[in-house]
Every structure is written in C-alpha cells, then in structure tokens.
Symmetry: C2
Subunit: 149 residues, 2 copies
DNA sequence: ACCATAATGATGTGTATACATCAAATTCGC
DNA sequence: GCGAATTTGATGTATACACATCATTATGGT
C-alpha cells in the first residue's frame, strides 16, 4: 500500500494538494515579504472587503475555514488596526471592515500580489489556470460528496 | 483589483489551492477519525517509511515542509511511540523509523485512507486525477521558477 | 406562545507551518 | 591543512487550522 517514489504511483490527493499549498504559500509570502502581511491575511482581508457588513461566519464559509479559526486569525489584524469589528446583522453576529490603515496595506500588498500572480499564471498559462481552477473546484465537490456519505 | 464573487474573476492561485487543501484536509481527517492519526501525520509516517535511515531533512524536503516544522511535527509521534529517532548518516543528522506500534497504526489508517482516496478518485476520475496531479506539479515548478527570479 | 433546533461567537486544547537565529558538524575550494 | 560555506537540528516566536464545548440569540414547527 505504500506509495513508491515513482510519480506514477498512487498519490494521496490531500497530501499532494497540501504540498502544493506549502510551495505556493512560501512563494506568495516571499513576494509579500516586507509589506507586513502574509498571503493568508491578504486573502482574509480581500474576503472581508467583498463581504463588508456580512457576519464573519460568511467570510469563514467562503474561505473554507472553520469559523472559530477565522475568529482567531483576525485577532492580530484587529490588534494591528487593519480591520475593525462591528455588530453584525443581529445580536449574535459580528461583521468586519477594513480601516484606512488596512486599506492602504492591502493596496500596497496588491502590487506585489499582482506581480507574483501575473508571473506564475504567465508561466503556467492563463487558459491552463482556468481549466485547473475548474478541476480543483470539481475535486472539492467530490470531497464534499464523499464526506456526505 | 478586488476579485468579485464571480467565479470567472481572477482567482488567487495560492488562496485557491489553500482552500482546497482545507476542504481535503477535513474530508481525509474525517475518514481517519477514531484511528488517532490525522492525514498530515499519515503522510509524514508514510514518507518516513519510504526514507527509513535517511536524514529527517530529506523527509521534510520530499513533503515540502520547512525542516524545522517537521522536527516539531514529529514530536507528538515520538511522544506517542509511533516513531523512534536514531542517529543519522553523520553526527549532525537524525533519522527516524516506525515502531511496531506506529506500523500497526499506519496499517489501520491505510484502510480508511484507501476508502476515501478510492471514493474521491472514483468520483473525480482516475485519468482526470493523473492529469491534475501533473498540472499541480507544473504549477509548483512555476512557483519555484518565480521564486528564483 | 412555546420549545426544539440551529446559528454565532468565545474559549480550551492541540497540531501545523514558517521564518529567524544560533551552534555543531561536514564539505569544498584553495 | 585551513578556512569559508553549507548542512543539520534546536529553539524562539508568531500565525494557521481544526475539533470540542459552552452560552447566547434567532428561527421554525407545532
């Protein structure tokens, strides 16, 4: 049952994707180095922008993060004044928005993001990336279908 | 520069892959639930099996983990008696091997792994998975090429 | 109107991941 | 043979991520 070193052997789908996530994580963090923000924070902040006013649990859902992990993840962003949290749509929930400082930081980081994303997708192929993104989404659907069994 | 909710908007490659990693991570951990081991530990142990006798830094390399992260990651596995660490090929390095307990655990977990991996790849398509794995590898190569610039 | 169920966030706990720094050992070029 | 560079692991520090549990609030069925 053990996979061999051969690339044609059975590759664990999860481990394969996690490995790639680490490689990409380091590459993108490298690109963002010096800005003060990392790629996960970048993604969280962009999602908060898209969903300003919505409960934080919606942000967690979109990012496929456990909601309690998101609440912890935003703590340093609140501490550093990048985002602020306000009451949500009811007494239970909270929503977040970027502060002026956070918006400035995001804009600055976006320049670096544009650069690495453009270089990466340029190398990989724009159409190939579109196809790959679709296949990744399909794999996620299969994982969720398996989970529901 | 902000992505819209449209699936055709510019998707961050890193964020997209990390999201999928979380979805797959939860699905595989769910499948392994009750065995006492999670999918990252499963992957580490399988790599240790493949590389028994080699320095731990080789294991970290293959898994694309920072070597210091791997040293920390194996600490609970040593504590729980799944692996043991012995001197490596020189005075600097250490190697690891599975204990009898660890081998038993890995075998037990492998049954669950077979099940979810089989179901997932069955749904996704065996040939499609092969193609996807190749494209993921190509994306990693592009990321490393970008990093080297 | 009431109660069970669900949603939301806080907290506990534990593992995952990475960069930075340092010390010891090995390798390699001269 | 020597010294610079590299390799390897330990440690510090900080963020990432998930499941479990609990309390509060909202929703929905009767």
């Amino acid at each position: 049952m053990y996979t061999s070193n051969s690339p044609n052997a059975i590759l664990c789908a999860c481990t394969t994707v996690k490995k790639l996530a680490r490689v990409l994580g380091r590459a993108y963090d490298d690109a963002l180095a010096g800005t003060g923000i990392n790629i996960t924070q970048f993604a969280v902040m962009r999602c908060i922008v898209r969903r300003t006013g919505e409960p934080l649990s919606r942000v967690a859902e979109e990012l496929e993060m456990d909601r309690t992990s998101l609440y912890r993840a935003i703590a340093p962003m609140i501490r550093d004044g990048w985002i602020e949290v306000m009451p949500g749509t009811d007494a239970r929930s909270r929503a977040a928005k970027l502060t002026r400082k956070g918006s400035g930081l995001l804009a600055k980081a976006a320049v670096r993001w544009d650069s690495i994303q453009g270089g990466l997708i340029g190398c990989f192929g724009k159409d190939a990336w579109k196809v790959l993104a679709g296949e990744l989404s399909r794999l996620a659907d299969c994982a969720e279908a398996e989970k529901a069994k």
